[in-house]
């Protein structure tokens, strides 16, 4: 209990068989995984907290992916003493991919609702399609971003985002969007297999586009019922495929 890193919300279990490091989407912190179980099969669920949000709000957020990946890999080093995988949703998938390329011997990368990092930013990100929830674009005004953030809060929490939180949420989100749009890496293989998770009602990223990840590494594709935010509830089908693909 003596060693505490702010990258992790809690100390990983000393007896875990394996670990699943989880990266949140843009604008939010590690607490978005609070509805996930503590374990999925042999994997202990370990959400990562990035600087600039929640209990790390006093630290400046990252401006680029390579710096994030190097720092995160260094912080996780003490916890890589057993098999592990990395999960990311939307921007979290791009973070997860960057992180995995810095880690020694990851077993698997799970990516949900995200186009590939090696597509140019203007191809990777689109203006929100009609009916989509939780899609942001840097060309959106503060008012448009605020309206969308509130829509996500209503969808996820059943209530509007509290007005006290709007400026904070927008600050984090704007930083994340700029970081995403400034990122144009070449195709970078992961050195481990990938599982993709597309969602039938995802109005932003179609299951077909998830297929492009096979250019990065050998890939197992999955399509689950749900929309862009369904993963927050860790549906049983998602847990099953995570466990099954991890066991190979």
């Amino acid at each position: 209990m003596s060693h505490r890193t702010k990258w992790l919300l809690r100390n990983p279990a000393p007896d875990a068989e394996a670990r699943l490091f989880c990266l949140p989407y843009s604008g939010v912190g590690a607490s978005v995984f609070r509805r996930w179980p503590t374990h999925i099969g042999p994997l202990e669920v370990v959400p990562l907290q990035l600087p600039g949000r929640e209990n790390r709000i006093g630290q400046p957020g990252y401006r680029d992916f390579p710096t994030f990946a190097k720092d995160a890999a260094e912080a996780l080093e003490p916890y890589l003493d057993r098999p592990y995988a990395v999960f990311g949703h939307c921007m979290g998938a791009i973070l997860a991919h960057a992180l995995v390329t810095e880690l020694p011997e990851p077993q698997r990368l799970y990516v949900s609702s995200s186009r590939v990092p090696h597509w140019a930013p203007d191809r990777r990100y689109r203006m929100p399609a009609p009916g989509s929830v939780g899609v942001y674009h840097p060309s959106m005004t503060e008012e448009q971003l605020a309206a969308e953030v509130s829509r996500v809060a209503r969808t996820v929490g059943g209530a509007d985002l509290h007005p006290d939180l709007v400026p904070l949420a927008l600050r984090v989100l704007r930083g994340d969007l700029e970081m995403c749009f400034g990122y144009a890496p070449p195709l970078t293989p992961t050195g481990c297999p990938i599982s993709t998770i597309g969602w039938t009602d995802d109005a932003d990223v179609s299951p077909d586009e998830m297929g492009v990840w096979q250019e990065v590494a050998p890939t197992t594709h999955h399509v689950l019922p749900g929309d862009k935010l369904t993963f927050l509830e860790a549906p049983a089908e998602l847990q099953e495929l995570i466990e099954k693909d991890f066991r190979g």
Binding site: R10, N11, A13, S31, N55, A153, H162
Partner: protein, 166 residues
């Protein structure tokens, strides 16, 4: 004993479902709140027999036959323990006030001075409720980012005290 506690928990309006067992010689009650939040203090007061500890969960994991999945419940208890820091009793009025408030918001008992709000399951909307309660009970307006950054109980108490004096 465990069955009696389980029955009285299930009968209580604030409890959705409950399962009670003995682990490490302690009576442990796993409870799912009926509504958004659950005050374990009020629940303790209302019960004739009380468990040694509570573990509050969003849902009760069930085994194939519909009975509680005790292995999974035991894991949840272990997880909660790992989220906690070694217990240091709150040392002044503000620490005690915040500990009580966190206990109600997070559904965790005996919150100590070194515990972390986000580690124990807190999130930004709950932090806003801390802010509103501080306004009401202590007349002090604390920006949400100050509550976020000072997410360890004794740090939060110190910063709230300093703002109250200013």
């Amino acid at each position: 004993m465990t069955q009696d506690i389980e029955r009285s928990l299930r009968d209580h309006a604030s409890v959705g479902s409950a399962a009670v067992t003995v682990e490490d010689d302690r009576v442990v009650a796993f409870v799912v709140p009926a509504a958004e939040s659950l005050s374990l203090r009020e629940l303790r007061t209302a019960l004739a027999d009380t468990p040694d500890e509570f573990v509050v969960l969003p849902a009760l994991p069930l085994a194939g036959d519909g009975t509680p999945d005790w292995a999974e419940l035991s894991r949840s208890r272990g997880d909660l323990r790992r989220r906690r820091q070694p217990y240091v009793a709150p040392r002044n009025d503000m620490e005690r006030y915040l500990a009580g408030l966190w206990e109600d918001l997070l559904g965790v008992e005996d919150i100590g001075a070194d515990d972390d709000f986000f580690t124990l399951g807190g999130h930004s909307l709950l932090a806003v409720r801390i802010r509103m309660r501080l306004q009401r009970d202590h007349g002090v307006t604390v920006p949400p980012e100050v509550l976020f950054e000072n997410s360890v109980l004794h740090e939060q108490a110190a910063v709230v005290e300093s703002m109250r004096e200013a």
